[in-house]
């Protein structure tokens, strides 16, 4: 469970380059993907760590980009375009067949805590890279 969550947080931070069109492949599937570059882009205030606000803004961007029809929800097809479609059943708490932004946040923020190995409330570059490396295994 913890491993799954770490993979998700890596994907969330990693999806920096996710474009708004479904045709674009998720960045985590790109062999040229660089988690360090993703970290730099997520760390918008450039203080060397990703805090909750930056993480939420990243998640919002990922969610908005994935929501191709812009109906405000992610359906199974849109979720499949992300790197972690297996997590759909976990996200869809109310079992209505789609994932709201609130549901998306709830699961992802739990994964933030899992990736925060030293429990200091922020993600360092090393913690994000470690999560990414675990995802690759």
């Amino acid at each position: 469970m913890r491993t799954t969550s770490i993979l998700i947080v890596a994907a969330a931070v990693a999806l920096t380059g996710l474009a708004s069109r479904a045709a674009d492949a998720p960045a985590t599937h790109d062999p040229k993907y660089d988690p360090r570059a993703a970290f730099e882009q997520t760390d918008t205030n450039h203080d060397g760590v990703v805090d909750h606000e930056e993480f939420q803004q990243r998640l919002t961007d990922v969610y908005f980009g994935a929501d191709v029809n812009k109906d405000g929800f992610l359906d199974p097809k849109e979720l499949t375009a992300l790197s972690f479609p297996e997590d759909f059943t976990t996200d869809d708490k109310d079992k209505d067949g789609r994932v709201s932004m609130h549901e998306f946040f709830r699961v992802r923020f739990r994964s933030f805590e899992d990736a925060d190995l030293d429990d200091d409330g922020v993600l360092s570059r090393e913690e994000v890279i470690a999560a990414f490396e675990k995802r690759k295994r």
Binding site: L18, A19, S20, R21, Q57, T60, D61, F64, G65, K70, D71, G72, F73, S100, M101
Partner: protein
């Protein structure tokens, strides 16, 4: 042209990604850049943005918020 660029930026651009427009007739140009995205209660998306306009060689900047309407257009709120 500016309006089309804005609609395109709101609908398609990632945060921080600019859409550029230029009017060859007037020489005016500009960019529209979403700076923050959020949802309001009904799942409707809103995006804060920065707009830069060059008119008569002078650059002006403005900030605002646009929200997506059910018909797919984005309406500027402020």
């Amino acid at each position: 042209m500016a309006s089309e660029a804005a609609q395109r930026a709101f609908e398609q651009n990632n945060t921080g990604q600019s859409s550029v427009w230029q009017n060859p007739d007037t020489g005016n140009s500009g960019t529209v850049t979403p700076t923050r995205t959020y949802q309001i209660a009904n799942g409707q998306y809103c995006r804060e943005y920065k707009q830069s306009i060059v008119v008569g060689g002078e650059q002006h900047q403005a900030y605002g918020t646009a929200c997506r309407q059910p018909d797919g257009t984005w309406q500027i709120q402020s």
